[in-house]
Amino acid sequence: MSKIVFNPDKCSGCHICEEACSYSHFNVINISKSRIKISTKFSSKGVVHEARVCLQCDNAPCTKVCPTGALSKSEKGYIVFNEEKCTGCFLCAKACPYGLIFTHPELKIPLVCDMCGGDPVCVKWCPMGALEVK
């Protein structure tokens, strides 16, 4: 199953991927509406960049628990989100074993990566080449 793969050694923590996502899905500048999340974590013992984004699981629990069929899988195996069917119950977010379905205080829908249908904008925008589809 192809998904977005993150290379922490190339990442700089610039959040451009988050903006690519928010812009392409919501037409706004707002990194908090992104479906991919980059965190630069640090302590006095070091620094590391981490990414959180949907793994496009084969038997995705989120699609199983969705009571209205708003979440499903495409033929290519990508998560498909149908906003019209979504009631905003967020059972999907609770069901994700990795915590990779996000919420936003002003949105009544879950934020889950849909791979932009197969050609993710975040991957294209990343200036460091830290994201790939694999």
């Binding site: 050694d9 190339k10 990442c11 700089s12 923590g13 610039c14 959040h15 451009i16 903006e19 812009y23 037409n27 706004v28 500048i29 707002n30 990194i31 908090s32 509406k33 999340k37 965190s39 630069t40 974590k41 640090f42 302590s43 006095s44 013992k45 070091g46 620094v47 590391v48 960049h49 936003h104 205080p105 002003e106 200036p127 460091m128």
Partner: protein, 623 residues
């Protein structure tokens, strides 16, 4: 006023004495005539600070300000300005920091924060779009800046924005700064101490609102063009490997690498602390600011000796000040010192200068081990430098004297010490030696916060024009640079490096500004704003000092008196007459009188009529 984009339109006011929080609208005057960042800061401080207040008293105000371009999709737009009346210089002080809080503040619904008064007990400020709270910070007090930042993130996570001070700021050390995200620092002229004086340990900001822009599609289109341009630059590859660290080798080549407390511009051991070796042996991670496609943060690990395993984020200024300036040729030691400065919240450039100053005093026999509590402050003595850094941050022994900055320390010691205290207007000089660079010396001399490279990085332009050239043209180029670096980038607020390092055109910034704000500003309009700000900042200094004369715009005596002895430019020093000539050209071009005081006509042309009566009140006659 309703803004179409760029500005959010609100200023947050927090009074820590009364525990009161207010929101006010951003006025049209502030937005259009001062744009943002530094522009907001100087206007608010000019309007609201009574003359002569103690910068570390509750009467001082602390400004944290974004600009209309901050956090929008412009390369490297994750910058925010921290400003106040400086406890180090007694004049206007500011600094910018690359931190997520820049965008988060706007995403919380504010362009700027004005912090007034002082708390009795340690607090931090927690801001979200729904709430602003002053919270207890007793558990964070005495913690290092990195450790306190980590502690806050246990509660708020790594996706929030922070500003944090270390023990140096808490202890009101005047060469303390503000930190964020492990290795980012901003606010050289004692902004950490201003936080400390207000018992403000940190600001935490969560944000989730959209950042408004007038014409998003154009902003995105321009952004993509800019990124393509930057990535095609021939200098891009080396830049993202070394960032500003490549300047060590460059400065050595040009004989401007500060060495032995700015006695030389040439350091034998430069390659051991340069960009090449850092890239090959020490760098482990790239780290960049928000929306920066050309990240310059060099996260490194010390490899050898007893500091092996220590992490640090390196850049040119800090490394030069802790290596060549102290005669230290070990990258491992520099990483340790840099990490310590960041954890202590000690401002690294000034700390390197203060230690270098002490080492020169020691080497000249002006002080001895008796004065330093037994420290043998010879050049190259890493242990002594590290010990002294701690003594400064905690104001212990001899460190207490240096905690006031080199100007105040030198005035206390007197005599020769005054000539070798490397500062302008009380701010320690950042890492370019000017024995053979009169234009760069003038840039430091006329920088609006004291001798900092932010406004003053004229050295590369000067070398292109010829270092010996003394001309009006050179001065005009310097003013152009001040308008860009100290005006446009500090008001927008975005990073200047895509422009200065990789040549992203100013026309891009002007177009992006217009697409973001829906306004129709020209480059000339932005230059006018920059001039307005420069004049108001100058007026602020004059009002605070109560007088003005050329001496405040001079570099230290050392550069005029003691020639270089090493490298290809041995024998060179600055010529006072030539410097004076440049300074006169500068005053003329700025519309200031021969003492550096703005003329009435200049102030009127810039819409600063209200400055005239204020300066006349202190007994000045304006020409």
């Amino acid at each position: 006023m309703e803004f179409k984009g760029g500005w959010v339109g609100k200023i947050l006011r927090v009074n820590l004495t009364e525990g009161k929080i207010k929101t006010q609208n951003l006025s049209k005057d502030l937005a259009l005539n001062f744009i943002g960042g530094r522009g907001f800061a100087i206007k608010i401080l000019w309007d609201e600070l009574p003359r002569g207040i103690d910068p570390l008293s509750p009467e001082n105000k602390l400004i944290v300000a974004t600009g209309p371009v901050t956090g929008t999709l412009v390369p490297s737009s994750g910058k925010i300005v921290i400003a106040s009346k400086s406890p180090l210089t007694g004049g206007y002080g500011d600094g910018n920091i690359g931190s997520l809080i820049s965008a988060k503040l706007k995403m919380a619904g504010y362009d700027a924060i004005v912090i007034e008064g002082a708390s009795k007990t340690p607090v931090y400020l927690h801001i979200t779009p729904d709430s602003v709270e002053i919270k207890k910070a007793d558990y964070l007090w005495n913690k290092g800046a990195i450790d306190a930042d980590v502690e806050l993130r246990k509660e708020y996570g790594f996706d929030v924005g922070t500003l944090v001070i270390g023990p140096a700021g808490e202890n009101l050390v005047k060469i303390s700064t503000v930190m964020s995200e492990f290795g980012r620092a901003g606010g050289r002229p004692g902004m950490g101490a201003v936080f400390g004086s207000k018992k403000l340990k940190a600001i935490v900001c969560e944000g989730w609102k959209d950042i408004p822009v007038a014409d998003l599609d154009t902003v995105v289109k321009l952004y993509k063009e800019a990124v393509d341009f930057l990535k095609k630059s021939p200098a891009y590859g080396k830049w993202i490997r070394q960032g500003t660290m490549m300047t060590i080798e460059w400065s050595q080549e040009a004989s401007v690498l500060p060495t032995y407390n700015f006695s030389e511009g040439f350091f034998e051991g430069y390659s051991k602390v340069g960009g090449e070796i850092m890239d090959k042996e020490y760098k482990v991670l790239r780290k960049g600011c928000l929306f920066c496609p050309m990240p310059c943060g060099n996260v490194c690990i010390a490899r050898k000796g007893r500091y092996a395993g220590v992490w640090g984020e390196l850049d040119y200024e800090n490394v030069a000040m802790f290596s060549s300036n102290l005669g230290i040729d070990s990258m491992d030691a520099v990483i340790k010192m840099n990490f310590m400065a960041d954890q202590l919240g000690l401002e690294a450039i000034s700390a390197g200068s203060a230690i270098g100053f002490a080492m020169e005093l020691y080497s000249k026999g002006i002080i001895s081990a008796k004065d330093t509590g037994g420290l043998k402050l010879e050049y190259g003595n890493v242990d002594a430098a590290i010990k002294l850094m701690e003594m400064i941050a905690y104001k212990k022994g001899f460190g207490d004297l240096l905690a006031e900055g080199v100007r105040a320390a030198a005035e206390k010691i007197g005599g020769k010490a005054i000539e070798i205290a490397m500062h302008v207007k009380g701010l320690e000089i950042s890492a370019y030696d000017c024995h053979a660079a009169p234009g760069m010396a003038l840039a430091y001399g006329t920088s609006p916060i004291g001798a900092h490279h932010k406004d003053a990085w004229f050295i590369a332009w000067e070398l292109k024009m010829g270092r010996d050239v003394i001309s009006r043209e050179k001065v005009e180029r310097l003013i152009e640079m001040q308008r860009i670096r100290g005006g446009i980038f500090e008001t927008f607020t975005v990073c200047r490096l895509p422009w200065i390092e990789l040549g992203l055109g100013l026309d891009y910034y002007v177009k992006a500004f217009n697409a973001i704000t829906g306004l129709n500003f020209t480059l000339e309009d932005h230059y006018r704003v920059a001039d307005r700000i420069y004049n108001l900042i100058r007026a602020f200094w004059i009002r605070e000092y109560g007088e003005w004369s050329r001496k405040y715009d001079y570099p230290p005596e050392k550069w005029f008196k003691e020639p270089l002895t090493k490298g290809p430019l041995a024998g060179r020093k600055l010529d006072k007459e030539k410097y004076d000539q440049l300074l006169s050209y500068y005053y003329e071009a700025r519309g200031w009188d021969e003492n550096g005081v703005p003329k009435k006509e200049t102030l009127k042309k810039l819409g600063l009529d209200y400055v005239i009566s204020e300066l006349e009140k202190i007994g000045l006659t304006l020409r």
